[in-house]
Amino acid sequence: MHSIDPFHVQLLAAVLFSLGIAVVLTRRNIFLVLMGVELMLNAVNLSFVGFSQQLPGAQSLWGQLTPLFTIAIAAAEACVGLAMVICITRGKDTVDSDAFAEMKE
C-alpha cells in the first residue's frame, strides 16, 4: 500500500494541471472553460494530498483537510460561474466565447 512513489503523484498532478490550463486556453466553448478550471482545482487537490503523505504523524491530516475547503470553494465557483453563463447566453443565444468580446471596445 505504501509502495506508491510520491514523485509519480506529483507528476500526475502536474500533467493534470497542464491539461486543465490547455482546456481553459484553447477551447472556445464556455462550458469547457469552466470544466478546465475544475480540472486545475482537482490537480491542486491531488498535489496537496500527495505532499501531505510525506509529513509525519498527525501533521499529515492538515494537508488532507485543505482539499475539503478547496472542494467547497469549487462548489461556490461552479454555482456563480454557471449563473453567469446563463445570464450572458440569454442575450446572445450562443456559447462561443468569442461572442462575448464587447469589453474590448
Binding site: A14, V80, D96
Partner: protein, 193 residues
C-alpha cells in the same frame, strides 16, 4: 511474500487510476460536445477519488465522489441541458489562437517535470495517520486555543456558500421584479413550437 504482493498491487492500482485520469482529461480536451466533456470530467473525478483512497485519505475520496462527481457535475450537466438547443456542438473546438494558448501549458508541463526530476527521492511515511473520518473530524473541530483553528475556516466556508447561492439567484433571475406567472407560462409554451 504477501507483503510484496500488497506493495505490487498498490502501485498497479495507482498506475491504473493514473492512466484512467489522464485518458479522461485528454477526453475533456478533445471532446466535441460539452456533455461528453462533462462525462469525461466525472471519469477524472472518480479516478482521482480512487487515488485518494490508495494514498490513505478515504474520507477525501468519499467527499470527492459525493460533492464533486455528484453535486458539482450534476449542476454543470443540468445547466448544459438547460441551455442546449442543438447548437452547442456547432461551436468549433479550436481556433487559430488555440496554438498560442497551447504554449503556456506545454511550458508549465516541461518546467514541472524538470523540477520534479531534480528533487531527491522521498517516500511516504508509513507511520502517518490514515485520513479516516474520525481523525479528520477531531482535527477540523479542534476548539482548543493551541489547535490549528480549522473550525473558523469551516464557518467562513458556510458564509461563502450562502453568498454564492444568493449571487447565483440574483444573476440567473430574469428581472428582480419578475412578470406574473401566466405570462412566463405562455412564453414557454410558445418556445416549444
Amino acid at each position: 511474500m504477501f507483503h510484496s504482493l500488497d506493495q505490487l498491487l498498490g502501485s498497479a492500482y495507482f498506475a491504473l487510476f493514473a492512466l484512467a485520469t489522464l485518458l479522461c482529461a485528454g477526453g475533456v480536451l478533445l471532446s466535441k460536445h460539452p456533455i461528453n466533456a462533462a462525462v469525461y470530467l466525472i471519469g477524472v473525478m472518480l479516478s482521482l477519488s480512487g487515488i485518494y483512497v490508495l494514498l490513505g485519505s478515504p474520507f477525501l475520496g468519499v467527499i470527492q465522489v459525493l460533492v464533486y462527481a455528484g453535486a458539482i457535475m450534476m449542476l454543470v450537466v443540468f445547466v448544459i441541458m438547460v441551455l442546449n438547443q442543438a447548437r452547442d456542438h456547432r461551436v468549433p473546438r479550436f481556433d487559430g489562437f488555440s496554438i498560442v494558448g497551447a504554449i503556456l501549458p506545454l511550458a508549465i508541463a516541461v518546467m514541472a517535470v524538470r523540477t520534479l526530476a531534480f528533487t531527491e527521492a522521498s517516500t511516504i511515511d508509513p507511520a502517518k495517520v490514515r485520513g479516516e473520518i474520525g481523525p479528520i473530524a477531531y482535527t477540523m473541530f479542534d476548539l482548543t486555543p493551541a489547535g490549528p483553528g480549522y473550525y473558523l475556516l469551516f464557518e467562513l466556508i458556510g458564509v461563502l456558500l450562502l453568498i454564492a447561492v444568493v449571487a447565483a439567484v440574483m444573476l440567473a433571475k430574469r428581472h428582480l421584479d419578475s412578470p406574473p406567472v401566466h405570462e412566463a407560462a405562455g412564453e414557454d409554451g410558445h418556445a416549444q413550437h
